[in-house]
Amino acid sequence: MSINLTTHNLVVEFGALRALGPVSIQIQAGQFVAIVGPSGCGKSTLIRVLAGLQAASFGEARLGEQIIRQPSMRVGMMFQSANLMPWRTVMDNIALPLELAGISSIERQAAVYDLLPLLNLEDFAKAYPDELSGGMAQRVALGRVLIQKPDVLLLDEPFGALDAMTREQISLDLLAMWARDRQTAVMVTHDIHEAVLLSDRVLVMSPRPGQIVEDIAVDLPRPRHIEQTYDTEFAYLAQTIRKAIRL
């Protein structure tokens, strides 16, 4: 079941330095929201607050009605790097959340084998991370998020390190999986193209301390596909966002 995400006058300060805010946003259940902004504007900080990894200095963030104070099993997060444990096989990396939750190894295996074909990793259950390409490693990371069946997806530039082709493909794979379960999704990206292609709504942030300066609805029809990127409407949206970032 997806769930609303809201922040109210959220501010994060590191010592005397204000890194973020104040930020007030409402994200409806099942919405896919992209956050773009210049580097160092605090987008990653924002997503870390939503994840419960970073405490708010002022204001608050809520998951549904509940104030976010610590990570929740309802929230899955993808990091900038695949963040796999090099001593674990693909299978054991994907199963990590279940393992930590104390689920038996038979059930874990079954869950991983259900997921592997979706991720296109059937043959790699027993492979180790250093045998994978960057794209495959991120698919493993995606599997590790999906296996916990989260209601919220937090994506912190998850495909930033991949080449353009791999990146488009894995973005669309992610979108297909999101379309099945319709989690509430928040993605931080510096790629305007990616933001428009994936999201329902793009939030543009100002330079540090980041505040939301523009809230742009993306009304392109779903399911999305690469061809849409050549539409005039797509180009117009991308241009609007680019202008907003420059402000």
């Binding site: 419960g52 899955g76 997060m77 963040n83 444990m85 001593w87 043959d123």
Partner: protein, 290 residues
Amino acid sequence: MFALPLPRNNKRGIFMQQTLEISKQNSVQQRIAKYNRLLWRLGRGRPISFSLVLILWYWVAHSGKVKSFLLPTPEAVFETFHRVLTDGDNVFDSTLWYHTSATLGRVLPGLAIGLTIGISLGYIIAKSPLLETLLSPIVVAFQSMPIVAYAPVLVIWFGTGSQSKILTCVLIVFFPMLMNTIVGIRSVPQNLRDLMKMYRASRWQMFRKLEVPAALPILLTGMKTSATLSVIGAVVGEFIVANEGLGVLITEARGSYNTPLVFVSAISMSALASTLYSIVAFIERRFMRR
């Protein structure tokens, strides 16, 4: 001596045809092959380098230019070795085995206690900046003091029995383990810590599932260093005062100008330390499939 690690996944060849990851996988295989060749070279190199030393030794000892009480011939050392192994030496009426096992009986508890203290203290220091500022000056000051300088004090405090030798061993062993534990635990990537927090991992899970495996290579390096030093630690204690042990044997042999026996004792210490090292290295190979 060195077992060549077999490729874990013999089906890898099949995967390769199915994917675009060929170059990537090849590079992994190449790395493994290179590593194996290196191990092979080292395995082959050992007998050759030992033989070279032996030949040089034999040649110098037989040249007639060096007095035999300064450098005994290899045969004399071997003969002494054989004699003390079976009969015991007239010095102490006990065999080499007796002295070696006495030393080992101090090395093993010393190593165990030293590693335990090093790991525990290292873990705490790695976790707490406050404790680091408080403890590191003491640890460093203590460590800069030569152990031979204060070992006699330890004998006064803890008696002439095994305790003082175990203690010198502990003190020598604990430092490298401490430092490696601090470095190892600090090297655990913050990203992986965040990941574990996302899954609400308990403190124990954080330790068992992340910190230990992530720091293991560095911890094992520390253990290898400590294992080689442990014999030195116990022997330093035995130098001060003791009734048995390799440290006693070498002191007595030196006192009576029994140079071959000095050589035998020194070689035995080295063999003991190398064995301990090899045991840790063996464990390392078993644990680190990668």
